[in-house]
Amino acid sequence: MTKNLRVKSSKLVDETYRISFKFNGTTYYGFKGDTLASALLANNIHLVGRSFKYHRPRGIMTAGSEEPNAIVQLHNGTSRTEPNVRATEIEIYEGLVASSQNCWPSVKFDIGGINNFLSPLLPAGFYYKTFMWPASFWEKYEYFIRKSAGLGKSPEVPDPDIYEHKYIHCDVLIIGAGISGIIAAKTAAKNGFKTLLVEEKSYLGGSTIYQDSEFFKINNQSTASWLEKEINEIKKIENLEIKTRTSVAAFHGYNFLLARENLIDHLPLEQRENKTRQKLLKIRAKKVITATGSIERPLIFDNNDRPGILLSSAVKKYADLFGVACGEKNILFTNNDSAYETAISLIQKGIKVQAIIDNREEVDSKLIKETEKNNIKIYKGYTIVDTFGYKRINSVSIMKLSQDGQKVIGSKENISCDSLGISGGWTPAVHLFTQSGGKLKFRNDDQVFIPNTYPSNQISIGSCNGDFTLDEILMNALKLLKEFLNIKKTEYENIELYSAFNKSKRNIWLLPSNKIVGKTKSFVDFQNDATAKDIKLALREGFRSIEHVKRYTTTGMGTDQGKLGNMHALGIISETASSKMGELGTTTFRPPYTPLTFGTIVGRNVGKYFDIIRKTPIHEWHVKNKAEFENVGQWKRAWYYPQNGENMHQAVQRESKAARDSAGILDASTLGKIDIQGTDASEFLNRVYTNAWSKLEIGKCRYGLMLNEDGMVYDDGVTTRLDENHYIMTTTTGGAATVLNKMEDYLQTEWPELDVYLTSVTDHYATISICGPNSKKIIQKVIPEIDLSDKDFPHMSFKNSKIGKMKCRVMRISFTGEQSYEINIQANYAKSVWENCMEAGKEFNITPYGTETMHLLRAEKGFIIVGQDTDATMTPIDLQMDWIVSKKKFDFIGKRSLYRSDTIREDRKQLVGLITDNPKEILEEGAQIVADINKTPIEMLGHVTSSYFSPNLNKSIALGVIKGGKNMMGQKLIIPMEKKLINVTVTDPVFLDKENKRLNA
């Protein structure tokens, strides 16, 4: 049944530009300017989806971002498919392919529709009640829920589109380009403010731009033509930037707002290539003017959700703006004058209005009189009690309302129709205002929440401020603007207004029916299928807080955040619980106002731009020599260098053997380096490290351990005294930034009297470490002028030297237990020095090794890695490093905590070595360690922190932490794995060269 419901020419669509699109497999046509919703309606299609819980057929309800039902899946290839797109917002383009979601196998025959007949079994809180028991059934339930209640499908391949982030700073931001927004923008910009006007739709002017009748006039012109001239004028103002298709998602404190600017979604697919799809605008505005308008309220009555039932304002908008009739036999149902505006528009367009049902008994309104002139039957004091038609409304039943509006009286009357427009008055769109921290007040006269107190430099104007009629809007907006912008007058001082609108309204939150509430389906939240009955049930079950009722009934918890029905939910609660509306408060509106795609949120920070990548100056050499890399913080570090198809284990075995047998070379440039200067530098080190520093001679190096104030190991590294008042500290790769911050913190806040200056020089120097019995010979070749004799240059000392003309620092320090030298050189010379070392070391089979081998070598020696063998619960005593904790020093960071009752416990987890009974068995890092596997529950004594096969010892070695491990030397323990038990013996953590012979060899 395809019909063309396109009527006379419209405001927005270009009827000379035809566009074809596909919906649920069928090709249809629309015009440029159409939304998917308007184009479907023009083809007489209302049924677009199924509801979430009961799978009831649902149609297009609105013409904007508040749409609860008409959400579709867009298919632009597998990578660009997008779920939950509102048909009322997406503009059609050539090649658009859309389908219904939340229905299976098809929208017309939906298996889940059976839920509708089972609905007595699906009351409020049914998720909580039903699926709680028996717990083991949950998996089964979940399968069926996911299958039948899915809200669309997400793409399974990466998003190919480009997204950007942009900061905008402006004097005045105006949200919404309706009549209030336009006036505000012009006033602000003309008074010299740098102004930004954003509008979520593709056009400016809001609903006034199609208000083209003799009943609404400004300066004796129709409001539409007056506003059009204003719009043409503001487009020429230089300090006013206008962004359409831009919706504000979040309004944070201090006038910081996030908006999404949609740039290409309306273009034909072939015009989108290489263009940015969406921009996330990060706006910081000195002043914000919210002019977001209002959202029409539905009316709550039995079966108010059938396809063909729309908001009355949407029916008007589709006719005026898109030239589309929502039906051929329209009924309007209202409690206020708005529906008559719709009626007049429909009459103008030659669209038949069957009848108007008005809750109000007696009203005197020019709009009503005009409607009556056109022989339209108006049922005053009536209400709809039921509707009919499964996939499209075909008739309504009406009855007379009692005097108090609580009951229906008299007999039922049926009227046939194919479309029903409903109007329950208007709700100010205060979502963004409340997000910003604004507080609302309740206005009893017309039962609306309006802005009360503003948390930042902002105002709300127009209907989002509760001003609904033309004269209210203009008068109040101008007054507020003058005050807010601190200006004496605007150019609208002598404006002449005419509005035929009568403000009277008969507000009944839940319309009475001839049936009992339990037998009705009066939907309050259309997307989440929450009915008036559900809310009443929640109250009967004892829920009182609006936030609890919301969660129990899921009212307002859909992607539309209940923009249509939240007020009715509140109203029904207040009536049922006899509490005052203003005292109930509202639920919290959270960002985003309308959903954002992940692409917009992450912008350009995808793939390799996800995080900063730091590379050492020698990185290219590692790449050329086929290193595998591992991420250490943001650094890329060479992990191992596989040769001839080696796997990691084989490469590491070869590298570690070479390092101990002859020479190994490591790029240690990532270690944090902090330059410390000042007359109090030594005292400062005394306070931040656990050991003593005052007596360290110039030219000597010392290992230091840093604690948190709670006594737990925080970082470690070697610090060298370069001069009387000059040190260079090294930190772990990952700890560089936090160590610097922590030390700065103490210097600035606790010890401002100390004369100490800290500078990060991590990136300024590269560090090349050469270890092994032949390291001395290689260094000598690279730096011929240096005296490397053990007497002149012993272990833990430092020398300034030169490689050619390049100054360098050489430290004799070791993290492997081998004799070892580190060359620190200005970063931009590092690669050539590294290549010199490789050349010089050729005759000694110098072997580059990566972090994995470094870890193995240090584990053989029992050196810890902070963050691997420690977590934030290990003291130096737990690590069996008592020797590094000064007993003499008066104080250092963490000292007092080392003898708290908890830190002196004997049964704390302590670092030990572990040797497997089977020397070939390699333990898994993280594996649990137990003593008795027959005890239940099994007592976990600790876990393995580091584990390797040592080629130098030809056996498996491991480090672990065990409760009371210090006193368990020689004890047998068990490591239970999935399929076996591994027997281990507790040992000293130093496996190799306890006497440090190799260091000085």
Binding site: H252, G253, Y254, F256, R284, G437, P455, E709, D710, N741, E744, D745, Q748, T749, E750, P752, F890, D891, K895, R896, S897, R900, S901
Partner: protein, 91 residues
Amino acid sequence: MFLINCPFCGEREQSEFKAGGEAHIVRPKQPTELSDDQWAEYLFMRKNIKGIQFERWNHIHGCRKWFNMVRDTSNDEIKAVYKMGEKPPVK
């Protein structure tokens, strides 16, 4: 997101700053003389007030200076910022 008036640089975005917990907790001069309870009081106990709160902030991606802030946690209003060592300008 706040706009924070760094006492050294002026108004900057919150993203340039790092919060550092409660202000005006002085590190004891002689920790060794404190009982476990007294030390724990310094080490662990922090206020979490709805209302006026004194906080440490660090302009970490700017001048790197630490300073203090008085903030109303109920509405995020920043009442004052002042340098380390200075007395709070509001109660």
